[in-house]
């Protein structure tokens, strides 16, 4: 038996293949090395040119050479041929080179299948709405290539595109069912280890001059919160991040308490309104959960640190939704552990002598007066709030307080805490976010990296830890109106924060609200939500058998509906036809069956001959039906009469 010659590749299918390949491989250019992207682009262009000129494909040895070069390049770049990035690079390389040796339909099918697979890999890098939309388009193109490969190549582009879109539309119900019911895995399926180490913007575990003013230049969203009841005053919106109580003269860090010491549980005495809210925290690879200062009720994943920030068990590697309750009027740790107070007074030796001198002149005053004195210094002297402070030397606090007097929140917080400690008042730096902007579209308070802030806390006997924000003394508008109002024009703020045009601002709000819904409802559909949905649907605590069964049932149902929908129209009999067929079936039971090809009036005439007792009724039914189906205007009235004829048939004689 001789093997059949393979199907030749249809000329008209090549543009579909190449466009599909380009759409699928193209977005990977964002994270692939430039040389590979150039190789891919030139290969596809070359193939398109060969197609246009109807030239023969290059010889096999040249392709083998290209593959060898590409694979060697990937191995050199990624030090491996496997793993996420190298694997994707290999697939992209094959996707670009395969069209070069595609002479038969079989090869083309390989490209399409490879394309479908390559589509999935985009989700390693992005799961945003634009990615999803783009992949839909790419999938339509690949499906169009599939259609054009099977004899559709000569059809106009729009016809093929419509067909492909229709096919995908039919797949939509299945996608929906599988999405809802397929067992979910915690975290993203492709949560490969290196993803977790990827650099993400956010507060870091230490603070030095410039670290926050650097962060502020990002317009990225840190988290969104929606308050169940009223939203607190803007001046009360302090979102607590890491607490720094150790200073080395340049950098503030979180002191690691000696493990042997007992760590007292924090004691919070809250009064006033309890604000309940739900936050959607972007991944930042740290443990703190940025609750409103101070949290009184925590999500199950969180715990309150001795320094009152909420900490998760694991660094936050995926976007997470959590519910908190916070109070803004509170007393925290009226009785504090001596070790913590001792740490809150520690200063590096021998630096900033002028500051120490100033502080020692206040030492006789009570603690509250000391703080007030420092704040009034900030307020009265010529201090400036700016994102571009001059560089500071070894005695940073001295230089800042007495020479430059220009700084950002971290300068003020740092100098204030230094002053307090030097004057004998326990103090520490708190980093976090301050403020936020309510998105009128969905009512979420959006907090960006540009809202990052640092303030300070002092411990007063009988009052506990009290927040003091020296920035508020220098630039009150920073706290009351936000960063944009506080900084003069020309400061390097991200443009997304400084949007003046109303329509642009609205556009941004809408886009962010849409993203938020997408993140919550599509990407945030986790095992817990799946359980909630299933129990709402009456399947509480389903095991895998009932999940599989419901999957199968729903898929079959969808298949049935689609099949019914796509059946030829004439199968779906109109009511007149149904009534007439019922009538004829009734007559057939009474011994006069209508031949399949017999028209209504001819049938009525035959009935009149064979069963004169049914003649009049049949003639009426046939007349109504003929008029309904073949007449110029059938009316409801006629249909009713026809249906009555069926009912008026005399009972069957035994």
């Amino acid at each position: 038996m001789s093997s059949q010659p393979p199907h030749a590749l249809e000329h008209g299918a090549v543009p579909w293949l190449l466009t599909g390949a380009l759409a699928t491989a193209g977005p990977h250019a964002e994270h692939l090395p430039l040389w590979l992207s150039l190789l891919v682009a030139s290969s596809l262009l070359w193939r398109a040119w060969l197609w246009q000129q109807r030239r023969p494909l290059p010889p096999r040895w040249s392709l083998a050479l290209l593959v060898a070069v590409g694979v060697a390049g990937i191995a050199w770049q990624f030090h491996s041929l496997f793993g996420k990035d190298a694997g994707v690079a290999m697939l992209v390389l094959f996707m670009a080179l395969k069209p070069m040796e595609t002479r038969h339909r079989r090869d083309a099918l390989v490209i399409v299948m490879l394309g479908y697979f390559l589509l999935l890999t985009h989700y390693f890098y992005s799961q945003s709405i634009p990615t999803g939309l783009w992949l839909l388009i790419a999938m339509t193109l690949l499906t169009g290539a599939l259609i054009s490969l099977h004899g559709g190549g000569a059809q106009p582009i729009m016809t093929i595109a419509r067909q492909a879109a229709l096919l995908l539309l039919q797949a939509l119900p299945f996608m929906f069912i599988l999405y809802l019911l397929f067992p979910r895995v915690t975290g993203p399926l492709w949560g490969l280890p290196e993803d977790a180490r990827a650099s993400l913007s956010g507060l870091s575990g230490e603070m030095s001059p410039g670290s926050i003013s650097h962060l502020i230049q990002s317009g990225a969203i840190a988290f969104r919160s929606r308050f169940a009841g009223e939203t607190p005053e803007k001046a009360d919106l302090y979102w607590r991040g890491p607490v720094f109580d150790s200073y080395d003269g340049v950098t503030w860090r979180t002191a690691t308490p000696p493990a042997r010491l007992p760590r007292p549980a924090p004691v919070i005495e809250a009064s006033g309104t309890a604000y309940a809210y739900t936050s959607i925290l972007e991944a930042h690879n740290q443990r703190w959960l940025l609750a409103l200062d101070v949290a009184t009720s925590l999500p199950p994943e969180g715990s309150l640190a001795p320094t009152f920030e909420v900490l998760a068990r694991e660094p936050l590697r995926v976007r997470t939704r959590m519910s908190f309750v916070s109070a803004v009027d509170y007393h925290a740790n009226r009785i504090e552990a001596p070790a913590i107070l001792q740490q809150a007074l520690a200063l590096p030796a021998r630096i900033n002598p002028r500051t120490r001198a100033l502080a020692s002149s206040w030492q006789s005053l009570p603690a509250e007066k000391i703080a007030a004195a420092a704040l009034s210094m900030f307020r009265q002297e010529d201090f400036h709030y700016t994102l571009r402070p001059p560089l500071l030397g070894a005695d940073a606090v001295d230089e800042f307080l007495f020479v430059t007097r220009r700084g950002f929140c971290e300068h003020y917080a740092s100098a204030f805490v230094f002053l307090m400690r030097a004057a004998g008042v326990p103090a520490r730096v708190v980093a976090g976010y301050q403020g936020g902007e309510v998105n009128p579209v969905d009512g979420y308070l959006t907090v960006r990296q540009s809202d990052a802030h640092a303030w300070s806390e002092i411990w007063l006997a009988g009052k506990g830890w009290v927040r003091i924000d020296p920035t508020a003394a220098v630039a009150p508008s920073r706290i009351e109106q936000g960063i944009v109002a506080a900084l003069p024009e020309g400061e390097p703020l991200p443009s997304i924060v400084r949007l003046d045009a109303t329509w642009l601002r609205q556009l941004r709000n809408r886009w962010e609200a849409a993203n938020n819904s997408w993140n919550q409802w599509v990407l945030g559909y986790n095992p817990q939500r799946q359980r909630e949905l299933l129990s709402w649907a009456g399947l509480s605590d389903p095991d895998w058998q009932s999940m599989t069964a419901s999957l199968a049932i729903l898929c079959s149902l969808a298949l049935l509906i689609i099949t019914w929908w796509t059946l030829p129209r004439r199968r779906r009999a109109d009511p007149a036809q149904r009534a007439w067929q019922r009538y004829c079936a009734q007559l057939a039971r009474r011994g006069v069956g209508r031949a399949t090809w017999e028209g209504p009036l001819a049938f009525a005439q035959r009935v009149a001959r064979e069963r004169p007792d049914l003649a009049a009724l049949t003639s009426e039914a046939a007349g109504c039906y003929a008029q309904l189906r073949y007449g110029r205007n059938g009316s409801e009235n006629l249909l009713e009469r026809l249906q009555q004829c069926v009912r008026r048939l005399p009972p069957q004689r035994p």
Binding site: R570, W597, G599, P600, G623, Q627, Y630, G631
Partner: protein
């Protein structure tokens, strides 16, 4: 019980058929088909043995409808000029003068058309198609309306030139008369032939009434469902392996026109599948040739109809 359908009693049609059936006995369905053919503005081909009343039918229809009638007996030595007419030199005026031939009449009975040579046949068929005659560079219109009723002996008979398919296609309907039944033949024998009645037969139509009827026929409604059925029939002939080829689009148009006329003759304003089925043999049999070489028989047409279910 009131009538179900808007029955506009077509008194003209009834009158014509009654008058014609009084002359041609026992052939009411053929008479009706013949009338429908004229109502649908088509030419009629009657095929049967000599002496079964073909000429009488044609002549009767012409008289009943009040049309001017002429007849040509086709023979094998006939020339086109014998049909169209000739120009004769008039010695007095010194000009050629055209003497119109028998084709210049409203109803032309072309008797035994298959006895003439193909050349003469085609001269007539061209006149049928175009409604005008061109001789010696001058085009002369034929009268309005212009119908050809041709009769043909079964082509198996000796001395005939069978009409080619392309020319058969120009006849809207082809009917067969067949022998009369027992009673009709007895009545015929008793009365001593019907032809002598013809001269006394008066038209039962007012002038212009026939044209109005033709307009009404063209306006008979054919619903999408009916067109579906008609197309299915036509497509079935094209897919039937026993047939050399199926019905042409022109044949489909003819089928619809004839079915309209049939519905009209039944007093209806809409076409039903029954109408299509009734005229299908007359429309299709001379257009469909079996692989075996003969034309489709009435059994083949009936099988075709039975193969297509009606909802």
């Amino acid at each position: 019980m009131p009538p179900m359908l808007p029955m506009t009693r077509p008194s003209p049609v009834t009158r014509i058929l009654a008058a014609a059936n009084a002359v041609i006995l026992g052939k009411s369905s053929q008479t009706r088909l013949a009338l429908c053919c004229l109502l649908a503005k088509g030419h009629l081909l009657i095929e049967d043995l000599p002496g079964v009343g073909k000429t009488t039918l044609a002549h009767t229809l012409a008289r009943v409808l009040g049309f001017q009638f002429s007849r040509i007996q086709f023979t094998s030595d006939m020339l086109p000029a014998d049909i169209i007419g000739v120009s004769i030199f008039d010695r007095e005026s010194g000009n050629f003068q055209f003497l119109p031939g028998p084709v210049f009449s409203q109803v032309l009975l072309a008797d035994e058309i298959n006895r003439a040579t193909p050349k003469t046949q085609s001269a007539l068929l061209e006149a049928m198609e175009e409604g005008q005659v061109t001789t010696e560079g001058e085009t002369r219109p034929l009268p309005e309306p212009f119908f050809v009723i041709a009769t043909q002996n079964p082509s198996t008979q000796i001395g005939t030139f069978p009409l080619p398919e392309s020319q058969l296609d120009r006849f809207l309907l082809r009917i067969e008369l067949g022998y009369p039944d027992h009673d009709a033949e007895r009545a015929l024998l008793e009365s001593g032939g019907r032809r002598k009645q013809l001269p006394t037969l008066a038209s039962c139509l007012d002038p212009g009434e026939f044209a109005a009827m033709q307009q009404e026929v063209a306006a008979v409604y054919s619903s999408p469902a009916l067109l579906d059925y008609l197309q299915a029939l036509v497509e079935a002939t094209r897919q039937d392996a026993r047939l050399v080829h199926g019905l042409s689009p022109r044949a489909a148009l003819s089928l619809l026109a004839a079915a309209r006329a049939w519905a009209f003759s039944d007093g209806r304003q809409m076409v039903l599948p029954e109408d299509v089925q009734a005229v299908l043999p007359a429309v299709a049999r001379h257009r469909l040739r079996l692989v075996s070489g003969s034309y489709a028989g009435s059994e083949d047409i009936a099988a075709l109809i039975r193969s297509l279910p009606l909802p």
